[in-house]
Amino acid sequence: MTTTTQQAPSDRATEFQAVQGNAGEQYSGGALLVSAYAILWIILFAWLALVWRKQRALDGRLADLERVLDKAASAAEPRG
């Protein structure tokens, strides 16, 4: 029995040529589908992170306001 997979050195490719026109199956459908799902969740979670950051900024400002109000309230208290 002879093997057909073994190539002689002279049969090997010696140059690369670009495909002309539409190359047909350029992208894997499965990879594109998984990419689309991944992007969907990345966008939603990025938005969640942004909302969280805004919430944290509000918390910080609220804490500042509370501190100022507490200070003003203690200054306004009658000294005994």
Binding site: A23, G29, L33, A36, I39, L40, I43, V51, L58, L62
Partner: protein
């Protein structure tokens, strides 16, 4: 709002959020394991089941921005302004999902990620209008003049929405028109269920995100007012080092 009502609304929000999460898990399972593979396009057609519902989410956000903007122009108040701003942000998030997932499908179906098809072009234009709205709100301050200007943009921006919808019918182009009034082009019942599931998931998710964002925006407006009151009383609200 009474504390009891606030607690009831919180409970409703959490119940709807849990239901939406559960529906999303079921929907993903159904799309991957039950819905059939399309004969010509193959597995990539399954992008359709959340690409189209994402545009529904974008329309809901844009609709909220329109309603909030009209409301603010008629009677300026924090609630319609917050609703409009949350709507614009929702429109941008879901528009981005639609604009990215569509080209991923197009790469396989059309052999190119992007083409200046009427629907793609009008959809991109609409997305950019809401991005412009958010840029305006972020950088132009929060005075009544800026709010009115943003509200006008929110109203005018909505004019493009019906154009996106009818662009396929009026100007043709490459974009598929699978969903139609005459029953649509989904021939397998599981394809119809997958699409209906997608619509259900996104039509729950978009209002929930809109709700959460509106609430945060209202809290920000209340805080701004409280800070202004504190300054009027001679208190310095700046962070102490």
């Amino acid at each position: 709002m009474t504390p009891a009502r606030a607690r009831a609304l919180d409970a409703l929000f959490l119940v709807l959020l849990a239901l939406t999460a559960l529906l999303f898990v079921s929907e993903v399972f159904f799309i991957f394991f039950k819905a059939p593979i399309e004969a010509r396009m193959g597995i990539v057609q399954k992008i359709f089941y959340f690409h189209v519902p994402a545009w529904l989410g974008m329309y809901m956000g844009a609709g909220a921005c329109f309603i909030g903007s009209i409301g603010y122009l008629v009677r300026p108040a924090d609630l319609p302004d917050a609703f409009a701003r949350a709507g614009a942000e929702t429109a941008v998030v879901f528009g981005a999902i639609g604009l990215i997932t569509g080209p991923l499908w197009g790469a396989k179906a059309w052999g190119t990620f992007w083409t200046w098809d009427p629907r793609l072009t009008t959809a991109l234009l609409s997305f950019l209008i809401y991005v412009a709205y958010l840029v305006l709100r972020s950088f132009a301050g929060d005075g009544s003049g800026e709010r009115r200007f943003a509200a006008a943009l929110g109203v005018l921006g909505a004019a493009n929405l019906p154009i996106i919808h009818y662009s396929v019918q009026k100007w043709g182009g490459q974009h598929p028109m699978v969903i139609s009034g005459s029953g649509g082009g989904l021939h397998h019942p599981d394809m119809k269920i997958a699409l209906a599931g997608g619509f259900l998931c996104f039509s729950l998710l978009a209002p929930l995100l809109l709700w959460a964002r509106t609430r945060l925006e209202l809290a920000r407006s209340r805080l701004l007012r409280a800070e202004a009151d504190a300054v009027d009383l001679g208190l310095d609200t700046r962070t102490e080092a």
